[in-house]
Structures are given as C-alpha cells and as structure tokens.
C-alpha cells in the first residue's frame, strides 16, 4: 500500500516562560491510503500538536516546528507556502476539533457555513453550493428543513455532525478528527461514531482519529499509534495491538481501564505522572514509571523496532522478549 502520509522525525516545541515544551519529539508515523489510524495518548502527550503540525496550524509564537518532514501525497508540507497550505486545508486535509464551536460561526446559519467551504474549493454557483450544503446535512442525519438554523439551535451532537458535514464537504483525502466525541454523551457519541463509520466507507478518505478512548479505536480504526511524551511508542494494526500489546506503557494503559464485565478490587495502575514536557527524562521517557526499567533505559533513547510484521514498539527489551516468545 502506498503511504499517503509519512511523518519523519517531526519535532515541535513551544517556548514558554519556564523553558521549552517538547510537545512532539522526533515523531515518526505513516498512514496508508484509505486507512484509519487511532492516535491514542493521555493529555499532554502531543496528539493535538501533531495534528496541528500536519495542518501547519501551530500557533507561532509560542510554537515552532523545529525539524522533520511531513510527506503528504509525495510532497513535504513543511516546504509549502501559506497560500498553498490554505488550498490544501479543507480540500485535501480537513480537521474536526473536540469542541464543535471552535469550527462553527455562531452568527451564521449552518447551510451558509457549509456552502462557504464548498465555494472556497469548488467552482459552483451560490445556489448550487447551498443545495450541496443541504445534501451534506442530510448525509449526517440533519433534516434539510433545519439548514437555515444557527448553531446554538442545535444540541451538542448535532453541532458536531454539522462540523463533520463541513469537513467532508470538499471530499478531503485525509480527515483528522481530534477527540470528536469527547464532549458528547455516550448515546450521542454512538450516533456520531456510527455516522463516521458509514462515511468512512462512502468517502474512502483516510482518517486520523485522536482519542484517549481505547474503546473508540477498537470500533473504527484499522491501525493504532500509542503516543507518550511527544513520541509514538507503539504502532501496529489494531488486531495485533489489542491482542498482544508490547510496550510497557501500552500494557499499563490497557490494564488501568475498568473492565465492563469483570470485577477487580484494585485497578492496576501505572505509578507516577506524565513527565514534565519541559524536562523530559533522559533515554526512554517512560523509564521513571516503568517497572522493567534498567540503568540502560535512562541512557539510551529507544528506537522503534519491528517485533512482528507491521508491529513496532520503542522498547528493545520487550521487543526482544516478545520475539523470543517470553511472557511480557
């Protein structure tokens, strides 16, 4: 499969009073055409920063892409001019944010907002654009008669569906959704996820779904990347990752979520806290919290290694154990 997106050694920093925030630190990631990738990590891991980096929307100052390459459709997005990026955004890459109101204009009716996006990227008349906007709304399950409503007249789930309609209006090749359902109730989340699953098939767009919910990833993604302290520490297809996670952080993450049909008295926890991104630990950034850490771990920063075809982890010890068939 040819890669539509290939991120190499991406480093993004924010300069703040207390020093340099290493939000993304030497990140590598690939995404095949038509694939959907779950991008999982805790708050502050650098997920949103990575997404904003791909969109070239890092607020500057305080943020800056320090190095690396983001190859999209064979071209490095970091070499593009702002004018070129404006064309790519929306038309080729669209983004959905956690809070739908960040993408909606509160004083404009929703049909006009969708039509505006369409007119920006397609040669259509105004009335054609409005008609297409109505079609898009119907596609995401909002009745056409509500197309002249303002965002505040919709519930949270409906607003997020409007945002999805805007994002898909120009048939983008890549859709980046940053925690699109985190602010929604479970039954409404189920509606939106169902919609995204359907649209994924209909539009054959590639998708990066940012979330901290391993359940959502299980439901709609093909591949999974686990991010910790600015780097991807494990990457695999969903089946391998869920059936045998390798990296100690990934394994800890899975264990700390209460199970829906099993009783445990004490939840297994990963001790300690996320590291301070201004002072990342040396070597493996996870070593202060890792029960398997050795002296070596504090010295050498582990690279991603392939443990089985397509399954990579940034922990040489666990990869070796796994390959030797030892229990993790």
């Amino acid at each position: 499969m040819d890669n539509m997106l290939d991120i190499r050694n991406l480093t993004i920093h924010y300069e703040v009073e207390s020093g340099t925030v290493h939000a993304v630190e030497g990140l590598n990631l690939t995404l095949g055409r038509g694939e959907s990738l779950g991008f999982v990590g805790e708050t502050g891991a650098g997920k949103t920063t990575t997404a904003l980096g791909i969109m070239r929307l890092i607020p500057n100052p305080p943020g800056k892409i320090k190095s690396g390459e983001i190859i999209f459709d064979g071209e490095n997005l970091l070499d593009k001019s702002e004018a070129e990026m404006r064309k790519i955004r929306g038309e080729k890459i669209a983004m959905i944010f956690q809070d739908p109101m960040t993408s909606l204009n509160p004083v404009m009716t929703v049909d006009k907002q969708i039509a505006e996006m369409i007119s920006l990227h397609k040669k259509v008349t105004k009335s054609e654009a409005l008609k297409l906007a109505g079609d898009m709304l119907e596609l995401v399950g909002i009745r056409r008669e509500r197309m002249h409503d303002y965002p505040h007249q919709f519930s949270g789930g409906m607003k997020q569906r409007v945002v999805i309609a805007i994002a898909l209006a120009c048939d983008p090749e890549l859709l980046i959704a940053d925690e699109p359902t985190t602010a929604l109730d479970v039954t409404i989340q189920a509606q939106v996820l169902e919609l995204m699953k359907e649209l994924k098939q209909k539009f054959s767009a590639s998708m990066i779904l940012i979330t901290h919910d391993l359940g959502i990833v299980a439901e709609i993604c093909d591949k999974v990347a686990i991010m910790y302290a600015g780097r991807v520490v494990e990457y695999a297809d969903k089946r391998s990752l869920y059936s045998h996670p390798i990296h100690p952080y990934t394994r800890g993450l899975f264990r700390s979520v209460p199970d829906i049909d099993e009783d445990v008295d004490e939840l297994p926890v990963i001790p300690g806290l996320m590291p301070d991104p201004v002072n990342l630990p040396s070597g493996c950034a996870f070593h202060p919290r890792c029960s398997m850490a050795t002296e070596e771990c504090a010295k050498v920063r582990p690279e991603m290694q392939e443990a089985e075809p397509g399954h990579f982890a940034a922990c040489p010890f666990c990869v070796k154990k796994f390959m030797n068939g030892e229990a993790l």
Binding site: D185, Q189, A190, I260, M274
Partner: protein
Amino acid sequence: MSEEYIRVENLKKYFATKRGMLHAVDDVSFTIKKGETLGLVGESGCGKSTLGRCLIRLLDSTSGKVLLKNDNDDGYIDITKASPREMKALRKRVQIVFQDPYSCLNPRLSVWELIAEPLIVNNVHSDKNEMRKRVRSLMETVGLAERLENSYPHELDGGRRQRIGIARSLALNPEFIVLDEPVSALDVCIQAQILNLLNDLQREFSYTYVFISHNLSVVRHVSDRIAVMYLGQIVELSEYKELFSDPLHPYTQALLSAIPLAKLDVQRERIILEGDVPSPIEPPNACRFAGRCRYAKDICRTTPPALKEILPGHFTACHFAKEQKQ
C-alpha cells in the same frame, strides 16, 4: 452493610426559568445502605448533580424528604428541613467532591491552607500542633507528598488537585460523601489511581458514597448498586452486575449498548437512539423516554410509568418491563 442509612422520598427540585418550570429532579425515591456505593448515571443534564446537591442540601429541594439516620438512635433527620443549627452539625457528616477540582479550589491558598480550611472554619482544633498533625495525616491519607504543602493548585496536575478536593471532604470525618464526577476530568492512568484511593478510603472508614458519573465502566467498577437517571427521574435501579447483565429499561439497554469496548470480536447489537434528550422544561405527563423508545405504545404517551420492583431488588419504570422479561 445491610442497614438502611439514607431514605429519599419523592424528592423534587424545580428551577423557575423564563420558559417555565424546569424539572431537574422529578419525584425520585430510593434508599442507600450504610457503607454502600450507589452509582448515579445518565446523560448530561438529566439531573445527577442537582440530585447530589439536594442530598446534602447544597441546594434546597422543592419538595420531598432526604432522611439521614441519626448517629445515636434509630431516628432520622430530614436534611431538607433541618434548622441552621442542625445543618451546622450535619455539614460534618455529609460532604461532596466535585468534578473539576480546579474551579472550586481558591487559587490563592496553598495545599496546606486548602486542607486546613474546613478544620479552621469549623473550629475543630484549638491546638496548632494538633491541626498540623491532622493536615499532615490527611495529606498522607490521600497520597499527597509533604513537600507539596506550600504548592498552589495551579502548580499541580489534575490528579493531585482532585486529591486536595478529597482531603478537604474528609477533613471533618464525614459518613456520607457525594462524589460528583470525581474522575471525569482525569486521564485513565490518574483515574485508576484516584478510584483505588476512594476504594481504599471506603474500606478503611466505611464511608457511604453516591458516585455520579457518565462513564459506565467506571460506575460499574465502584458501585454496589446503580441508579440510571433520565430527564430528572430514576428509570432503573439495581445491583450493579444485574444492571449490566439484565437491563430492563429500554433506555438502560441503549445506554449500555453504546459503550465503546476496548476489545475486539465482541458481538452485540447496538441500539442507536434517534433524536436528543427532550427538554426538561414542563415535561409531558407521559413516559419521558417515549419519543426515543423503540417499544413505545399509546399508553406510554399518556401515562407515566412508576418505578416498580420487577425482580428482587431490581426496579424499573417502564410499562412493558414485565412483558420484556417474558
């Protein structure tokens, strides 16, 4: 743990709004046993926090009773009607922990001052040294390192701020604690740490908890029994395992089927609810779920179903719960 400790009878809380009366909590009745955790789940706006606040009278109820068993005799005191003097004594027995510890911690107070505050306000210790000891021991109980004494909330992460909130609620040795989304703002790893802490505390001090959350796997993990709320009412109440294995109310069934599971190859039917939760303002005299319910019949639109015991200890408010069982 069999002894009844709190009895809630026909509790209502209405808010007057421009468009009419908003029925935030509408005629709920249930009991809580000593040392038990009652989970409270439901979608945003269904009245969980309002109910939690009425239980400990952070809000005055519109009508109904919240009976709390006396310490020393078999009588009860109705919290909703307690006099200011009685309330002052009750404040020590009932406490609350909020979702967002940040917004309810005074940013100008240090960790030490924040935890000492309830002790000072209630004149618990006249002796400075004793108070120092007590704050230290509270910090230790909730897992805050001594070196953080002089830190301020903004310097700490969400998990530690929540530990401060918990320490404050424990300061007066309460019996009953309402936990309003105590882990909802936290990442899973920190969430697990706090859930374990709450569990340990309950085991040690036999606290009674009401645990409010919209996260069903978290609620299942912590609760002995679970109440499901919909639009101001309890639609189902059951022992926790049975609620998950044998949900009787169509809303509960939809809610459970909507949880994304972090597992592959689970076969289950997902019930996608159409539409959104209707308005809580002047709700119709009917089953409030009727507009979204796939089993709704005429009677559902004209007669509100009462909460009834369908299986031993398993209550639900649905006209067709019995038929469904057959």
